[in-house]
Symmetry: C2
Subunit: 185 residues, 2 copies
Amino acid sequence: MELSKAIKERRSVRRYKRDPVPDALILECIEAARLAPSWANTQVWRFIVVKEQLVKEALVEALTPHNPARQAMLDAPCVVCLAAQRGVAGVKKGETTTDKGDWFMYDCGIAMEHLVLTAWSIGLGTVHVGAFDAQKAEAALAIPAGFSAVAMTPLGHFEEQPDPRPRKGLDEILYLDQFGKAYNR
Amino acid sequence: MELSKAIKERRSVRRYKRDPVPDALILECIEAARLAPSWANTQVWRFIVVKEQLVKEALVEALTPHNPARQAMLDAPCVVCLAAQRGVAGVKKGETTTDKGDWFMYDCGIAMEHLVLTAWSIGLGTVHVGAFDAQKAEAALAIPAGFSAVAMTPLGHFEEQPDPRPRKGLDEILYLDQFGKAYNR
């Protein structure tokens, strides 16, 4: 699929079929994430593909109570979880390089979006899920010290293509040379 | 360009031609970022396209001393800067939802990567630049209180396509069901 089509048509999917997803497709998504750029090529992300229903149930327990992804994670044949090594990205000789501290969140966003776009391009749905109790998720996934559970997404065939969500107009998010200066088009 | 080709062939570019980039191509990149998913669709990112050489020079002054992007930012015809509204993503009724606090970094990574992939697909180079003094960058860009300077990238025609950087193997970053459990392929 064309990149521009994937970016324009991708939706966050919260209703899934239970149909299995072939391993080859799962691996194509992970491979796209593996190629993501990262701070000084530190690649702090790790991916855990959860197919085991008991682990999925434990992950759902970690979600915020009204999280619309709860049923999605039970229905979808697998959930991809993203863990990150801490204290590496954005850090040099034990000192953080910038006022943002650990850059793992920025790099995780990039890598997960490679997976999300690739899934869409091969007919699979995803949704970035970040609203969960990380300690519970880390216990369910046996994530060791030094790593954090960052995000997860169901991965599967979707029931229907959701409608697009609204976005701010270009004029609300784009400036020329300095913040607030109109970019005349 | 096919999404998979953009993901496989994208490189971080640090050597640019001074040739101008038509506005239509700049806007195509920003439009891709505008469509990015974000925490509860909060869209906290703002983009500042810097063409004015004096502002570019002030941004270079904000970079870390040995940042390989210094010359790149002077040569490329424009620099796209990413600012984020703080205290909105990952926050509900004034309280952070997760142990990650403000989710602006995750959402900024996603949006900037939409821009980066789109630039590549239309023949333009970029490189995520995060190693800079945010206070200096915020002064150069007149970024108001409540927003932070997060990342920037030169945007332009590249001198040559850089060689690929190494990546960890799938076996180093992929697990099944729990961290550390081999994903047998």
